[in-house]
């Protein structure tokens, strides 16, 4: 019995041919993630090289022509509907890391969705005397003069928040 269940797990473990191909956008994020992985290990040269690869992939990603605020808003709603099934997949595999990423991602997505909805109602006045902050660990977005002391989603301290400056992209 024990043997059989182990066999089942092994057959479900990652095999090259089972994996979906990544888009250039996903490859950009994969490279910037690996750059972070190097940065945490104090590997400066490797960090810079992975960052260059990430920029390469962003540069070759096809230009989006039909984007609108409404469309992004709808797609955020779809993400929120998709998170529970992702979570179920993670739980079925007893993958706590994947479950954790669902918890953070869903909360950060909910905030993005609510900010965009608020903008559609209030317009520019919602930013009066407000800075926009993004948690560099989980992507939680916060409006205020100062960043929160602790990220409400992933609990990192304020210095992990980055301020979004006006005109720069």
């Amino acid at each position: 019995m024990q043997e059989k269940s182990e066999e089942k797990v092994l057959s479900k473990v990652q095999k090259e041919e089972d994996l979906e191909k990544l888009s250039t956008g996903q490859m950009a994020a994969l490279c910037s993630n690996l750059a972070r992985g190097c940065e945490k290990q104090y590997k400066e040269e490797e960090t810079a090289l992975f960052t260059k690869l990430a920029s390469y992939f962003s540069a070759i990603s096809p230009e989006v022509k039909d984007a609108t605020v409404e469309k992004i808003s709808e797609e955020l709603q779809e993400d929120l509907k998709a998170y529970p099934s992702l979570r179920a997949t993670a739980d079925a595999a007893e993958d706590r890391g994947a479950a954790r990423v669902c918890v953070w991602g869903e909360k950060a997505t909910r905030m993005l969705s609510s900010l965009l909805n608020r903008y559609q109602e209030e317009g520019e006045k919602m930013f009066e005397n407000q800075e926009i902050w993004v948690c560099s660990i989980c992507g939680f977005v916060y409006l205020g003069n100062e960043p929160p002391n602790i990220c409400p989603v992933c609990k990192v301290p304020a210095f992990k928040f980055m301020k979004i400056e006006g005109g720069k992209i």
Partner: protein
């Protein structure tokens, strides 16, 4: 496990006990960064520091957790949704003249990228030293996405970063 001492400058209170105990002078530098070429990994500085500002970074890391194909594909699918919105928000932000909305779109793009990075980290790309990361770089060299793909960068990374799953 072989390790190297690293100082977190944000926590360092300049009590300088690391200088007193270091047998090789690795901690005594003008830029506050412990000299990796001198550090012998003895941990004396980390144990002596009253502010807990020095930690030991292992030089070799254990193999990352193995993930199931179904989990990987579901995480990648969500990461795909996230980068799609990153791209949409950036293209809108470029031409947006209302400053508030422009900033919100940049924040949204930035956040979606961070969320996508986190999803991919859990999809088998936690460690740059992993076999997955190596396979990714090798595939890029074998099948470059465009003619001007900078192969030399991928090659250099393969040289610099050991594959910790290689038997």
């Amino acid at each position: 496990m072989k390790a190297c001492a690293v100082r977190n400058i944000r926590l360092c209170t300049k009590d300088c006990l690391c200088l007193y105990v270091c047998p090789t002078g690795a901690t005594d530098t003008e830029n506050s960064i412990i000299d990796v070429t001198k550090c012998i990994g003895c941990e004396a500085c980390a144990k002596a520091c009253p502010s807990g500002a020095i930690s030991m970074m292992p030089l070799e890391l254990p193999v990352q957790q193995v993930k199931q194909a179904e989990v990987i594909n579901s995480l990648k699918e969500m990461a795909g949704r996230k980068v799609k919105k990153e791209e949409q928000a950036l293209s809108l932000a470029k031409k947006e003249e209302k400053l508030g909305l422009k900033r919100l779109l940049i924040a949204l793009a930035t956040a979606e990228r961070f969320i996508a990075e986190d999803l991919l980290r859990e999809a088998g790309y936690m460690l740059p030293q992993s076999a997955n990361a190596h396979r990714f770089l090798e595939d890029l060299i074998a099948n470059p996405p465009t003619e001007d793909f900078p192969k030399e960068i991928a090659q250099k990374l393969l040289e610099l970063i050991p594959n910790n799953e290689e038997v």
